[in-house]
C-alpha cells in the first residue's frame, strides 16, 4: 500500500492483522510507543489525516492512501533518523517549557493528542485526556503545558543548584527522538514469546515441542530441560543473599498462573506466538494455596515443596515451608504500655495488591558483540546487579557481559527485578542471534510483580495528654509464588513507620508468606505504604478519642533531633538526623489547609479533612554503592558517567546540576551518560530513592576531584598556586588571567559513595474530600503535601516527584486492585480493567518544601521519590472518616466497596 508518513511517500505491505502502531515502528518511527497495545493509554497516538487515533487499534491496511503524522513529524516533514528539528511544534514547545513529563514514555501520545484539542476540550482536560495515561507526573505538569504555563529555568549562568533546569533529554523526549529500551533494535533480531502456566500449581510432566519446532520461522524452543539448574531471585539487591534463591529461568514446577512454561524463539512475533500455541504440555496439578491467611497452617499446600529441591538448600529454611521471611522485635514492655494507656485503639487493616503500571513494559534485547560479549539493552533500574546475576546464572565472567539501558519508561520499583534478561540471555547463548523480548501489557499484569498485599493488625495506646504508651503491629505479607523482596519489604515496612514515633514500648511481628499467586516485589514505598496506612489511620482514631488535633498528636509524639530513632530493636544503626524538617512540614500543611480549605462540596455531599505523615530512611541499609566518573573533554565540555538509569526519576538533570555547580560551568556544557556497566565500576542501582543521595554524591565527589585536577593543571601552566585558581563561568580564573577549560583537558576524576551514613526524609499529606453519602463516591477538594527533601536541587523536578507519588498513591487508595480470582488467575489484565489515575482523577496538589540542609546527602539534599506515596492512603481514609464517620480499613476506597460503611457512618451507625 501507499501512504504518506510525516510528509513523505511511503510504500509497504502490512500484514493482514497488523495494526498501524507496529507498521510505523517497523518503518523506523519509534516515537510511536506501545504502552498497552489495547487503546487505553494513548502512548501510540498519531494523526490520521489530521485526526488523532490510537494507532494500536487501527488496522494498518486502513492507512492506504492516507496521511500519517507521528510525533517526529508534528513540527514538519521529516525522515526517521532526522535529528531534533530546530523549530518544534507549539505544543512540543509548551511541554518543553512546562517540562510536562518525567519518564517521557507517554509524552509522544500526550502531545499528539493535546495538539489537536480545541478550546472547549482544553477547558475539560479530564474528558479530553481520558485516553492518555501518565504514570509519572500526576498530570499537573501536563495540564500546565497545555495551558501554556512555563516552569523551566532557562538562564544558563549562576549556580545551577536549586534551580528548575530542564531535563537534558527534554528536546528528544518531546519530539519522539528519545530512544527507550526497544527503540534501537538490531535489524536481524529474533523474537521471543513465552507460554505461560494456566494453573496456579502444577508440575510439568512433559512438553511435546515437535509441532512447535516444525512451524516455519521457529528457531528454538526452550524448556526447563534447557534451563540452568542454578536458582536465583528476580529481586535484585546489593547483597544477593537478601532474597531467597527460589527461582529458575524455566522451572518444571509452576507456582502461579502466568509463570513461564516454555519459550519459543522465532524469526517473527507471529511465528513465536504460533510456536507457543503449538506446544503440547502435560501438567500434573497440585493443590494451590490462594489465601495467605491459611499459608502457615500445618496442612497448607506447600508452594515450595522440599520434595522438588533435594539438597543442601532445600526448603524449609524456615519453620514452615510457606514462610518466606519474618520480622520480630520489641522494645520496652508493650503490655505495660497498653495497661497504662487512657485510650487503646485496635483494628485490622488490609492493603491490597497493586501494580506499578509503568508505561513501558518490561523488555530486553540481547546480542553478542563482535568480540563475543553478551550484551543486553534492558528496561531496568539495576543494570549492574542484573549483569552480576546473569554472570552467576550462566557462568560468565563480569567482563564477558555488558548491560546497558536506554531511556527507561518508568520504574516505581518494578524494574528492580530481573524478569526478562535471564531468558533473553539464554536465548542469545542458544541461538547465537540477537533476541528481543517485549512483554505485553497483559503479561505485565499477570506475570511480573506487584506491591505486597498485607493484613495489618495495629494496636495503639495513648495517655490523655496524647503521649503514645505502646504500639504493636502484626503484619502478614503475601509475597506470592516467589520470595523476591519478601524479606526486605517486611523489614523496611516495619521500620520507619515505628521509628518516627518516640514511644517507649513497641512490638512488631511480621510474616511474609508464599502463596500460589503472581509474585509481589519491590514497589514504591517498599512496605511502608501499607504499614503507614494502618498506623496513621489508627493514630487518627486515637486523636479523635482524645479530642486532640491530628497534627498536634504527631507533634507530641514524633521524634526530634536528639531522640534515638528506634523501630523495634535497640541494635545500633547508621541512620542520623542529617536534617530535620518534620516540624516545618506539619506546620506548613496545617497552615495551608487553614488558609484555603478548598471549594465547598456540592449539595448533598459530605466534606471532611484528614492528614497523615511519613518518614523514610534516605538510603536502603547495608551498603548502596555508586561510582561516578567526571571528565573534562578536549572541547571544554564535561561528561558525567554514572551507572544510574534515567526512568523519570530526574537524576540525569540532578547529576548535571551537581557537576556543573562543582565545576563552575553552565549546565548545558555537561553531558550525562548513564546506565552502562562499561561506564563505571559499579552502581547498586536507582532504587530506594538513591539517584540523588548516593549516585549524586558520587558525582559531586568526582566533580570536586576533577575541579582540583583542573586547578592544579591551571596552576602548573600559569605558575600560580592551585588555591589561587578558581573555576567560574566556564573558565579558570588565575592570577595571570582566565584560562579556558578547553585548554586544560582532557582530565578525568572518579568519585564513589557507599550509602552510609543515612539520613531521614519526611512527608506530610492532608486532604479535604467530599463523599457522596449514597454512592460512596469520593472527590478530592484540596490536596496539600509538604516534603523535607533537604536542599532541593531542582524544585520543579522535586515537585514533580511529589505530585507523581501522590497521584500514584491516590490510585492505590481509591481505585486500583490487581484482582485475583479463586483459580489464582489475575482478573485485571488490561488498563481499562485496572484503573490507574487518569487526568480527571488527580487534583492539583499544593507542594511545600521544608527548608533544611542535610549533613549526609550531596549539597544538603535528601531523597524524594518513593516517600510522597506513603502517607496518602491514610490521609484520604482519615478525611473520609471526618466526612462520614466511617473508618475504612481496606484500600481501595472504591464506591462499591465503601458505600455501605459510608451510609452507616453518615446515619450514625458507623
Amino acid at each position: 500500500m501507499r501512504l504518506t508518513i510525516n510528509g513523505h511517500a511511503h510504500a509497504g505491505a502490512p500484514r493482514p492483522g497488523q495494526c498501524l502502531r507496529t507498521y510505523l515502528r517497523e518503518a523506523g518511527w519509534f516515537g510511536v510507543k506501545k504502552g498497552c497495545d489495547a487503546g487505553d493509554c494513548g502512548a501510540c497516538t498519531v494523526h490520521l489525516d489530521g485526526e488523532p487515533v490510537h494507532s494500536c487499534l487501527l488496522p494498518a491496511f486502513r492507512a492506504e492512501g492516507r496521511s500519517i503524522t507521528t510525533i517526529e513529524g508534528l513540527a514538519g516533514p521529516c525522515r526517521p533518523e532526522d535529528p531534533v528539528p530546530d523549530a518544534v511544534h507549539p505544543m512540543q514547545a509548551a511541554f518543553l517549557a512546562a517540562q510536562g513529563f518525567q519518564c517521557g514514555f507517554c509524552t509522544p501520545g500526550m502531545i499528539m493528542t493535546a495538539a489537536t484539542l480545541d478550546q472547549g476540550q482544553k477547558r475539560d482536560l479530564g474528558a479530553a485526556l481520558k485516553g492518555n495515561l501518565c504514570r509519572c507526573t500526576g498530570y499537573r505538569a501536563i495540564r500546565d503545558a497545555i495551558a501554556g504555563i512555563a516552569h523551566r529555568d532557562t538562564a544558563m549562568s549562576g549556580d545551577p543548584v536549586g534551580r528548575s533546569l530542564p531535563a537534558p533529554a527534554a528536546p528528544e523526549v518531546v519530539t519522539g527522538r528519545a530512544r527507550f529500551t526497544l527503540d534501537a533494535p538490531p535489524a536481524d533480531a529474533l523474537h521471543l514469546r513465552v507460554l505461560r502456566s494456566p494453573h496456579a500449581h502444577a508440575r510439568i510432566v512433559a512438553i511435546d515441542t515437535a509441532e512447535a519446532v516444525a512451524i516455519p520461522g521457529v528457531v528454538a524452543v526452550l524448556t526447563h530441560a534447557d534451563s540452568p539448574q542454578r536458582r536465583f531471585s528476580t529481586g535484585r539487591h546489593q547483597d544477593p543473599r537478601d532474597d531467597a534463591a527460589d527461582t529458575m529461568v524455566l522451572d518444571p514446577v509452576l507456582r502461579f498462573v502466568g509463570q513461564r512454561v516454555a519459550a519459543v524463539v522465532a524469526e517473527s512475533v507471529a511465528a513465536a506466538e504460533a510456536g507457543c500455541r503449538a506446544l503440547r504440555v502435560t501438567y500434573a496439578l497440585r493443590p494451590a494455596l490462594r489465601d495467605p491467611d491459611l499459608a502457615l497452617n500445618p496442612d497448607a499446600p506447600k508452594v515450595h515443596d522440599p520434595v522438588d529441591r533435594p539438597g543442601h538448600d532445600a526448603p524449609p529454611l524456615m519453620r514452615h515451608p510457606n514462610l518466606a521471611a519474618e520480622v520480630h522485635g520489641a522494645i520496652g514492655n508493650v503490655a505495660a504500655g497498653f495497661a497504662e494507656a487512657d485510650v487503646v485503639y485496635e483494628e485490622t487493616f488490609r492493603a491490597q495488591r497493586v501494580q506499578h503500571g509503568a508505561l513501558e513494559t518490561h523488555g530486553c534485547v540481547g546480542w553478542r558483540d563482535p568480540d563475543g560479549r553478551l550484551t543486553l539493552r534492558t528496561s531496568s533500574q539495576v543494570p549492574f546487579l542484573t549483569r552480576d546475576a546473569l554472570c552467576d546464572l550462566v557462568g560468565l565472567e563480569r567482563d564477558s557481559v555488558r548491560v546497558v539501558c536506554g531511556r527507561v519508561g518508568g520504574g516505581f520499583g518494578g524494574k528492580q527485578e530481573m524478569l526478562t534478561e535471564d531468558l533473553v540471555a539464554l536465548a542469545v547463548l542458544r541461538t547465537g542471534r540477537p533476541v528481543l523480548w517485549e512483554l505485553t501489557r497483559q503479561e505485565q499484569f499477570t506475570a511480573t510483580t506487584t506491591r505486597h498485599p498485607m493484613r495489618l493488625a495495629v494496636k495503639v495506646g495513648a495517655r490523655r495528654d496524647g503521649r503514645l504508651t505502646a504500639i504493636s503491629l502484626d503484619v502478614l505479607s503475601d509475597t506470592g509464588a516467589y520470595g523476591n523482596h519478601a524479606g526486605g519489604v517486611i523489614h523496611h515496612g516495619c521500620n520507619e513507620v515505628l521509628a518516627v514515633y518516640a514511644c517507649p514500648n513497641k512490638r512488631v511481628d511480621g510474616y511474609a508468606v508464599y502463596t500460589n499467586t503472581v509474585p509481589a516485589g519491590a514497589f514504591r514505598g517498599y512496605g511502608l505504604s501499607q504499614t503507614i496506612f494502618a498506623l496513621e489511620s489508627a493514630l487518627d482514631e486515637v486523636a479523635r478519642a482524645l479530642a486532640i488535633d491530628p497534627f498536634e498528636l504527631r507533634r507530641i509524639n514524633a521524634v526530634r533531633p536528639g531522640d534515638p530513632m528506634v523501630s523495634n530493636s535497640l541494635e545500633p544503626h547508621d541512620v542520623v538526623y542529617g536534617s530535620y524538617g518534620l516540624d516545618q512540614c506539619l506546620d506548613r500543611v496545617q497552615q495551608a489547609l487553614q488558609a484555603d480549605p478548598g471549594p465547598e462540596p456540592e449539595t448533598g455531599w459530605r466534606a471532611g479533612t484528614g492528614m497523615a505523615m511519613a518518614m523514610i530512611d534516605t538510603i536502603p541499609p547495608r551498603g548502596h554503592h555508586a561510582d561516578a566518573q567526571v571528565s573534562l573533554e578536549p572541547d571544554g565540555g564535561v561528561t558525567v558517567r554514572v551507572g544510574t538509569a534515567e526512568f523519570g526519576n530526574g537524576t540525569a538533570t540532578v547529576h548535571r546540576q551537581i557537576a556543573a555547580s562543582a565545576l563552575g560551568i553552565a549546565a548545558d556544557r555537561v553531558r550525562v551518560a548513564g546506565a552502562d556497566t562499561d561506564a563505571v565500576g559499579h552502581d547498586t542501582g536507582a532504587y530506594g530513592s538513591t539517584g540523588t543521595v548516593v549516585a549524586g554524591l558520587a558525582v559531586l565527589r568526582a566533580a570536586e576531584a576533577l575541579a582540583m585536577l583542573i586547578r592544579r593543571r591551571a596552576a602548573a601552566l600559569t605558575g600560580a598556586a592551585p588555591d589561587a585558581c578558581r573555576l567560574t563561568g566556564g573558565a579558570v580564573e588565575t592570577p595571570g588571567g582566565p584560562l579556558a577549560l578547553a585548554a586544560l583537558g582532557p582530565l578525568a576524576a572518579g568519585g564513589r559513595a557507599d550509602g552510609s551514613p543515612r539520613s531521614v526524609a519526611f512527608n506530610v499529606q492532608a486532604f479535604r474530600v467530599a463523599v457522596h453519602p449514597v454512592s460512596g463516591a469520593v472527590r478530592i477538594l484540596r490536596s496539600i503535601h509538604a516534603a523535607d527533601a533537604g536542599t532541593v536541587i531542582n524544585p520543579m523536578q522535586c515537585r514533580g516527584q511529589v505530585e507523581g507519588g501522590v497521584a500514584q498513591a491516590i490510585g492505590a487508595a481509591l481505585y486500583e486492585d490487581l484482582a485475583i480470582d479463586a483459580a489464582g488467575r489475575v482478573v485485571t489484565q488490561a488498563l481499562r480493567d485496572y484503573h490507574i489515575p487518569a487526568c480527571a482523577d488527580v487534583p492539583d496538589t499544593e507542594v511545600l518544601f521544608a527548608h533544611t540542609h542535610d549533613s549526609v546527602g550531596p549539597l544538603g539534599a535528601k531523597s524524594m521519590s518513593e516517600s510522597p506515596y506513603n502517607p496518602v492512603a491514610a490521609a484520604l481514609g482519615n478525611a473520609i472518616r471526618d466526612a462520614t464517620g466511617a473508618r475504612l480499613t481496606a484500600t481501595p476506597f472504591a464506591p462499591d466497596r465503601i458505600f455501605r460503611a459510608v451510609m452507616a457512618g453518615v446515619s450514625g451507625d458507623g
Binding site: 500484514r15 454512592s775 462499591d896
Partner: protein, 275 residues
C-alpha cells in the same frame, strides 16, 4: 495490537461480495475492540466499512444509523429540533469509556455487537426503542428490537454469518423528554449503572437500565409510577443473578445505585412541563 493469526482481510464492496461464513471469521467495523485483545481463534476479517454505508439517514419517520456510523459522526449529527431526546446522543457518546480519539473510529454497531453491559450505544438504542436490521447470510433481512439484540455480557442475538446492518430510531421516541444518569467507580470510568428515562407527551414513562445488569432492561409504565411502584417494578424485573458482577462494580452497589438513579430520573421527569 497485531492480530497475528489473521491470514486474510476481505473488503466487500457490495452485499454480494460477502463471503460464506466460516469459523475464525470476524466482522471488522472500527476495530477498537477487535484490535484491543488477543484473538487467537480468528483467521479472517471481513471489513464492513468497505461496503460504504452512509452513516445515517434522517426521515420524518425517524433516524436510521448505519452500524458503521462512528461515535464521532453520531455526536455531530444535526437533527430536527423537535427530536428533543437527541440530547441523549452526546451523553451516551461521553459515557463511552474510550476517549474522543476512539470516537473517530469506533462504531455504533460495534458497540451493540460487543454487547458489553456498559455499552452506551446499547442504552441509547434500547431507550429510544431502536429496531435492528440484520442481514442474514441467505440474503434476507430480519428485524429485532435493540433491547433484545443484547442477550448477555458479550453475547448478542446474531447467528453465524449474520451482520448488523443498521438501527432505526422512531421519531416518536426521539420526540420524548429524556433523563440520563450514570455512575462509575471513577469519574470517567466504565459505567457501573447507566439509566435512561423517557416520558412521552401522553405521560407514559419508560426506564431503561443498562450497565448494572447483564443485559439491557426496559420498564414501561402507562403513567409516571410513584417511587414505591418504581422500586417494586425494578425488584420484580431484576432478579439477583441479573445484576452484573465485574471489576467495575459489585452487584450490590450496582443494585443500590440503579434504584437511586431510577428515582432521580423519575423525579426529573415527574414535572409535566420540562425534564
Amino acid at each position: 495490537m497485531d492480530l497475528n493469526t489473521i491470514e486474510t482481510v476481505i473488503r466487500p464492496r457490495a452485499r454480494a461480495d460477502l463471503p460464506d461464513w466460516r469459523a475464525g471469521d470476524a466482522c471488522l467495523a472500527g476495530g477498537t475492540w477487535l484490535f484491543s485483545e488477543p484473538q487467537p481463534e480468528m483467521r479472517r476479517l471481513v471489513d464492513l466499512t468497505a461496503l460504504g454505508w452512509p452513516s445515517h439517514t434522517v426521515a420524518a419517520e425517524g433516524l436510521t444509523l448505519a452500524a458503521t456510523c462512528t461515535i464521532a459522526q453520531l455526536d455531530r449529527l444535526e437533527l430536527p429540533p423537535d427530536w428533543i431526546a437527541a440530547s441523549l446522543f452526546g451523553q451516551c457518546c461521553r459515557a463511552l469509556l474510550g476517549s474522543f480519539k476512539i470516537w473517530n473510529v469506533a462504531t455504533v454497531g460495534g458497540n451493540l455487537c460487543m454487547a458489553l453491559p456498559a455499552g452506551p450505544m446499547i442504552a441509547l438504542a434500547a431507550a429510544l426503542e431502536a429496531t435492528c436490521t440484520i442481514w442474514a447470510p441467505d440474503g434476507t433481512e430480519r428485524h429485532l428490537p435493540a433491547a433484545d439484540f443484547v442477550v448477555g455480557p458479550q453475547r448478542n442475538a446474531l447467528r453465524p454469518g449474520e451482520i448488523l446492518r443498521s438501527l432505526f430510531l422512531p421519531a416518536a421516541a426521539l420526540a420524548r423528554r429524556a433523563a440520563f444518569r450514570r455512575i462509575s467507580l471513577s469519574p470517567n470510568g466504565r459505567s457501573g449503572a447507566l439509566l435512561i428515562g423517557t416520558r412521552g407527551s401522553g405521560g407514559a414513562f419508560a426506564l431503561t437500565v443498562t450497565a448494572s445488569t447483564r443485559r439491557p432492561l426496559r420498564l414501561a409504565f402507562a403513567t409516571l409510577p410513584d417511587p414505591d411502584t418504581l422500586h417494586r417494578a425494578l425488584a420484580d424485573a431484576i432478579p439477583d443473578d441479573l445484576w452484573y458482577d465485574d471489576v467495575h462494580g459489585t452487584p450490590d452497589w450496582r443494585c443500590h445505585m440503579t434504584v437511586h438513579l431510577a428515582q432521580e430520573i423519575r423525579a426529573a421527569l415527574a414535572d409535566e412541563v420540562s425534564a
